[in-house]
Amino acid sequence: MDWLFFGEISLAGLAMGGLYALIGLGFVIIYKATRVINFAIGEIMMFAAYLFLAFAGGMEMSPWVALPLAVLGGSVLGGVIEKVMIRPMLGESSISVVMVTIGIASILVGVVEMIWGADPQLLPGFLPRKPVFIGEMYLAPKIAYGFLIGAALLIVYLLYFRFSRGGVALRATASDQAAAYSMGINVRRVFNLAWVFGSLAASLAGVLVAATGGLSPQFGAIGLSVLVVVIVGGLDSIVGALIAGVFIGWLETVAGAYLGGEYRMPATFAVLAVILVFRPYGLFGTHEIERV
């Protein structure tokens, strides 16, 4: 066995996993606060990445201006989706709400295809091109710097939820809506904010992932990998999303490198199936007790 190769592959996988963790975090924020499983998260990522393409490529802005603008656009989209389409579904069965997000995903794919066409596109390169070496192991610079940017946002998020007023409101709403209401927390605003923050994380990850792997209207399929991440980690666990994100990213890349690209999805879904059988609520998820 070639340990250097394994190390390089693992490193690339872990860096990719860092981005998965970021997307998973976005997913978990939305789920924790609003109990909505967001199947459209891959498409929100895609939309933000196309916005970046339009700003940086079409309008020739500096990538460092385009990146925040695209991420902002993605978060506004998340907020609008919540206001217009998710709010009316409050109190409906979870099947219905999930189907609404699937419908939103389809609409977004159509809109993107209509504006930017169906062909795959390359994002203008904006990350440094100098190869990165850790010890002897080579790591593609796009992946390395993408990971660093993603990790920075992740740390900001964790601190925000721990210490800021908004973060506390969000956690309070997640643990008990009625109590949060009676303490004077504006629960509606928290719902909206959760979607904005969740989409923000997803949008940044979307631009970074698209910068390494290219962009097409099928980009949203990455949402499936993220689904595996959050189920394995536990839908309502931030720690779970981080650990599972890194692990699934690593597994996917290693399986792809050693067994071939067609094994990427089955490998991660096999882990998912095992987890569902032995720990149905994920590694760190809360086991809900049901009463009649």
């Binding site: 389409m85 409906e92 189907m99 419908g103 159509g110 809109v111 209509m114 998912l272 199936a273 049901e290």
Partner: protein, 347 residues
């Protein structure tokens, strides 16, 4: 509710068609189905067959999702099992189509039971993800088990045959697909007049209460999975006979979502809704195609916009129906019926 409609016996109360008006309309509908292929041109016939296949599969998914409350993203995978079974059997054994279709349904049902096994431990969305995992594995098997499935190239089939008759044209296939669809929908209707069907509905409404009432949850959930995937398997087998080729890409994940959408747009937990939803969702792309052809002389770009437009309409239909008409087309149908039966008085 009609006036003067007192039921005198349980049979009358349980009957599928309760009034003579209903019986007449139903007979007329069957007659129309029978005469349709003699009047319709090739294109309409092709659409009729597609709708028939979609009706069978949607009815199956409706049993699972609409009546038992178990959401499944594996419908396309189960259809694939049926399609590949038929393709393999007709290539290697030369059995006639009723046998291959039955075996396709049974094999799909067996796979369905296997996929349904986690359903006692995990519920709701976790179950949806488990079925999603199943469809990923099935797709992988279709693509990689080359000695049986032919890999990415897939398998092609001989036309369906029985007693020396071959059903090569759409005209012939219509007479396999549509009668089968009618029988299978009626069979589903009958299921919901028995203990089994009522148990499904009880599980949907509150599974814990159902268990307290003495319904064996695992048993009935698995039965629902088996029934639903039997329907999917038969639909997949018909799909294979109709297109005469199956590849892993014939049964993509988007197809599972299409059938879920058909159930929702039609009306969850309503067999009539399933039929309406299947027909409606199958015909939408065709109507859009007609519109595009009509618009092309004025807007030469129209064909480019058709496929994204279809995605947008598809998504908007799902979102719109769930927000504004959660009971689906079936509810609209009932409203129209009420209007006519109460006319000239307002509801």
């Amino acid at each position: 509710m009609r006036i003067g409609d007192a039921k005198q016996s349980y049979e009358a109360d349980e009957a599928i068609l309760t009034s003579s008006t209903q019986k007449i309309w139903f007979a007329l509908f069957l007659l129309a189905l029978l005469l349709f292929p003699f009047m319709a041109d090739a294109y309409l016939l092709y659409l009729g067959c597609l709708v028939g296949i979609a009706v069978i599969s949607t009815t199956g998914l409706n049993i699972l999702t609409g009546f038992t409350g178990l959401i499944s993203l594996g419908q396309a995978g189960f259809m694939g099992v049926g399609g590949y079974t038929v393709a393999w059997l007709s290539a290697n054994t030369g059995l006639p189509f009723p046998v291959t279709l039955l075996l396709a349904g049974l094999l799909a049902a067996a796979v369905g039971i296997l996929v349904g096994l986690p359903s006692l431990r995990v519920k709701g969305l976790y179950l949806a993800i488990a079925t999603l995992a199943a469809s990923v594995f099935l797709h992988f098997i279709f693509a990689e088990w080359e000695s049986v499935t032919g890999g990415m190239g897939g398998l092609s089939l001989e036309p369906a045959h029985l007693f020396g008759l071959t059903f090569q044209s759409d005209f012939g296939m219509y007479f396999i697909i549509v009668p089968l669809a009618v029988v299978m929908v009626l069979a589903a209707r009958n299921v919901f007049r028995t203990r089994i069907g009522r148990a499904f509905i009880a599980i949907r409404d509150r599974d814990i209460s159902a268990e307290i009432l003495g319904i064996n949850l695992l048993h009935y959930k698995l039965m629902s999975f088996a029934l639903s995937s039997f329907y999917a398997g038969v639909a997949g087998g018909l799909f294979a006979y109709f297109f005469r080729v199956v590849t892993p890409e014939s049964f993509p994940l988007s197809m599972s979502i299409f059938y879920l959408a058909a159930v929702i747009v039609g009306g969850m937990g309503n067999l009539l809704g399933g039929i309406l939803g299947a027909a409606f969702m199958t015909l939408i792309p065709e109507i859009l195609k007609l519109l595009t052809t009509a618009l092309t002389p004025f807007y030469p770009n129209a064909p480019i916009f058709m496929s994204p437009m279809l995605e947008i309409i598809f998504g908007a239909l799902i979102v719109g129906f769930l927000i504004f008409e959660p009971h689906g087309l079936a509810e609209i149908w009932h409203r129209i019926r009420r209007f006519f039966s109460l006319w000239p008085f307002k509801n």
